[in-house]
């Protein structure tokens, strides 16, 4: 095959100075001499995120494991014996899931956006830090909260709100303003709120940890009820986001209807659970929450199938991972549903087995 050797590997022609000079004046660079270009900027960003996460982990202190659960078989992931500690751990499972979802989703989408605005680095660092704090809390069986984790989670909640502002501005400044076209194809308006949800659930985890195990309260209100209603609202918000984007996808696969039907049912189950007497059994609501959790995980598989269906399939992953259905998005449903399970645990006033 003839090659275009006039476009061969040589740097662009430079100004070679006045003609007539010869020898060293005509020195032409043959190969690029830059070395620093071998480290991709994305690698630097990933290293920064990991570093910030590790710092948070160590700053949160050692989990004291004063009171590991007495449930004999649990060798891995021990649970606190107090219902508040157990629910707080579950809330941290929820914030872990949401923070991880935000980390990978914002990483992918902001990489697509070429970090055009410097602020686009923020969610990657903040969600890494939130992820570390959440994972730290998930392993902490101690009833007392941690100030570092509390602060980090509050930061996440705030960052998500600011991100929501940025995305709202981005949609509005486009030609056509708040039209469906722009809601579909510019910055996803609901996405940053997932970080806020992670922050809220993380903050609540620390508050619940500090609460009285016999009558846990949040700002003077019964913790179980408040949290159940809050997670029900979060489920509806996440449904709105999924609904918008699945509507963009014309619900071309019937499975795309699942995330707009199952979570609202779960939200209703949570709201009903909040009306029952404290201590009552919440079997149905728990089943609904597990179903929504499972849906979030299965959604990743469906989205992977969606990527495979795009032109070029997984062989063209550099385009299709970005253009296809986002792999990290569905687990945010699982995250919110785990928060719902924590609420049910508080409503039942006893630790759940799982």
């Amino acid at each position: 095959m003839p090659m275009l050797s006039d476009r061969g590997p040589r740097p662009p022609e430079r100004d070679r100075g006045p003609p007539g000079l010869s020898g060293p004046a005509l020195k032409r660079r043959v190969a690029p001499v830059r070395v620093e270009a071998t480290v991709h900027p994305v690698v630097v960003l990933a290293a920064a995120a990991v570093g910030a996460g590790l710092l948070t982990w160590f700053a949160s202190g050692r989990s004291k494991r004063l009171d590991p659960a007495a449930s004999g078989g649990r060798r891995y992931a021990p649970r606190g014996s107090a219902v508040t500690a157990s629910a707080a751990q579950r809330l941290n499972h929820a914030s872990t899931m949401l923070a991880a979802s935000v980390l990978f989703d914002s990483g992918l989408e902001h990489y697509r956006g070429q970090f055009f605005n410097r602020a686009m680095y923020t969610p990657i660092i903040v969600s890494s830090v939130t992820l570390a704090a959440s994972m730290h809390g998930a392993g902490d069986t101690d009833p007392g909260g941690s100030r570092v984790r509390h602060g980090v989670q509050a930061l996440a909640g705030l960052t998500g709100l600011i991100g929501f502002g940025f995305h709202t501005y981005n949609v509005g400044k486009r030609e056509g303003g708040y039209s469906f076209q722009n809601l579909f194809y510019s910055a996803p308006i609901g996405a940053p709120m997932a970080l806020t949800l992670a922050g809220i659930l993380g903050v609540v985890a620390e508050r619940v940890r500090d609460a009285d195990p016999d009558a846990p309260e949040l700002s003077g209100l019964p913790a179980g009820k408040v949290l159940a209603l809050a997670t029900a609202g979060m489920l509806l918000g996440t449904t709105a986001e999924a609904g918008l984007l699945h509507f963009r996808g014309a619900f071309q696969n019937p499975a795309m209807l699942l995330p707009v039907t199952l979570p609202p049912l779960g939200a209703v189950a949570l709201a009903l659970a909040a009306t029952r007497a404290p201590g009552a059994s919440q079997t149905e609501a728990k089943a609904a929450m597990w179903a929504v959790s499972a849906m979030g995980i299965i959604g990743v598989a469906f989205h992977a199938y969606g990527v495979a269906r795009m032109m070029g399939g997984w062989g063209n992953w550099r385009q299709n991972l970005i253009d296809g259905p986002p792999l990290p998005a569905p687990p945010s449903f699982s995250g919110v549903a785990l928060g719902g399970l924590a609420a049910l645990e508080l409503l039942e006033r006893r630790r759940s087995r799982f």
Binding site: M3, L4, D6, P11, P32, G315, I322, D323
Partner: protein, 219 residues
């Protein structure tokens, strides 16, 4: 010809040949195109092809230093020999092969009548004079056989030569075009955004950056 500034330094669209940007069909089509050498002609005879070469040299001139110039004339002949038509035709012109044969013969006859030499042997000024007259429709010698020279110029000569020129990877490198995009298309569609597999345009004073980016296009 005055050498132009290289806006896409280091960019070679053929580096994308074995990436997901091209599928087997694309590869075979481009391989066939690249196999055309500047002097291949199967449809036109030697005289007609010599005229076409000279015409192409005036319509789509190329820098003298190019080691792999676009064989625009041979690509037009390839199109005629393959009997691939556009799917539409100016009603005042005969079928593409007949139009080209007639037009090239007529141009040659006009050259001999006006300057006493074959079209291909004339200098650039004389060739341009004839081509301009052709464009005006003022060439009306008997060799045209009632074919309007301006229609031939505007609806056959220019479209075929320009399309042939810009169907070649050398021209794609020149203008920084990404080439075929199947299966892999483009993701970053906004103004001033660029996918890593797109050509990078050199901003003044930052040619080295564009050069580095363009080396990565084939990854």
């Amino acid at each position: 010809m005055q050498s132009r500034k290289d806006l896409f330094p280091g960019y070679n669209v053929l580096a994308k040949r074995d990436t997901p940007s091209w599928n087997p069909k694309t590869r075979s089509v481009i391989d066939e195109r690249l196999a055309i050498t500047p002097r291949t002609h199967r449809f036109l005879d030697a005289t007609e092809f010599a005229t076409l070469l000279a015409v192409a040299g005036r319509i789509v001139p190329q820098p003298a230093g190019r080691t792999d110039p676009v064989p625009a004339a041979a690509m037009v002949d390839h199109k005629l020999a393959s009997r691939e038509h556009d799917g539409y035709r100016q009603a005042g012109l005969p079928e593409q092969g007949a139009a080209w044969r007639l037009g090239l013969k007529a141009l040659d006859a006009e050259a001999r009548a006006a300057f006493g030499a074959a079209f291909g042997e004339l200098g650039a000024w004389a060739q341009d004079t004839l081509l301009k007259a052709c464009e005006d429709g003022s060439l009306r010698g008997p060799a045209w056989d009632d074919m309007p020279s301006d229609l031939f110029f505007k609806k056959r000569l220019i479209p075929d030569l320009v399309k042939a020129y810009y169907a070649h990877p050398t021209a794609w490198n020149e203008i920084g075009w990404g080439g075929p995009a199947s299966p892999r298309g483009y993701v970053r569609m906004d103004f001033d955004r660029r996918d890593p597999w797109e050509a990078a345009e050199a901003k003044p004073g930052r040619e080295d950056e564009a050069y580095q980016e363009n080396l990565r296009v084939g990854r």
